[in-house]
Point group: C2
Chain length 121, copies 2
């Protein structure tokens, strides 16, 4: 557990948003100007592999990272692009049932208009 890894983990823990590697890099650089992008990616990958954090694919832009809490899925606003979490505990069993064989997991992103964007229209 290096200072760099600690810093990156702290940034993700204290963020209320999902962050791209670039955003993590920017925020990390504020506190540790010598940090390198490769180090950010190394650590994000290591922590993702270790299950500490989640990597979230975002269509048409860079992947996002978040501190992993309970398993959950994502809502993505088609207007502003912001991600939100949603918990669908029934879904995995329901999918297993529908598919007929055992499944190891799934990736789901639901597209919607978030409450803030809905107001603006």
């Amino acid at each position: 557990m290096t200072k760099q890894r600690e810093l990156i983990l702290q940034i993700l823990t204290h963020s209320d948003r999902h962050l791209t590697a670039d955003e993590v890099f920017f925020l990390a650089k504020l506190q540790m100007p010598s940090i390198a992008m490769a180090t950010v990616y190394n650590n994000l990958n290591a922590m993702t592999d270790a299950g500490f954090i989640n990597r979230v694919h975002v269509d048409g832009s860079a992947d996002c990272f978040e501190k992993g809490s309970d398993p959950h899925d994502h809502l993505r606003c088609t207007s502003c692009g912001k991600l939100a979490n949603v918990s669908l505990p029934w879904l995995k069993d329901r999918l297993r049932q529908a598919v007929g064989t055992d499944i190891s997991g799934y990736d789901l992103t639901i597209h919607y208009i978030c409450p803030e964007c809905r107001k603006k229209i």
Copy 2:
């Protein structure tokens, strides 16, 4: 409707698999050696926008394309990476219900071990 577009559409129509842009390019090049990668992408994007074909994101590798039939979701084998289609007509309504607001759509990829790989183990 240029010859290039026709060729690309034909390749996708006659393929029983989901193809990456690279694979489409390779197959197209067999029949039309002068074709360029950019042309393949131009046409895949144009046909995707027009709704003729579907672009499928594959975690950790290049996007795949398929001739669009009815709306469906994807199964991805965690062992060999192959994609299969699955129809879950009840899902969108069920997600709408769970989320509480209207949703415009969703992306779902289910992870499993395909029948062929299951046999091998």
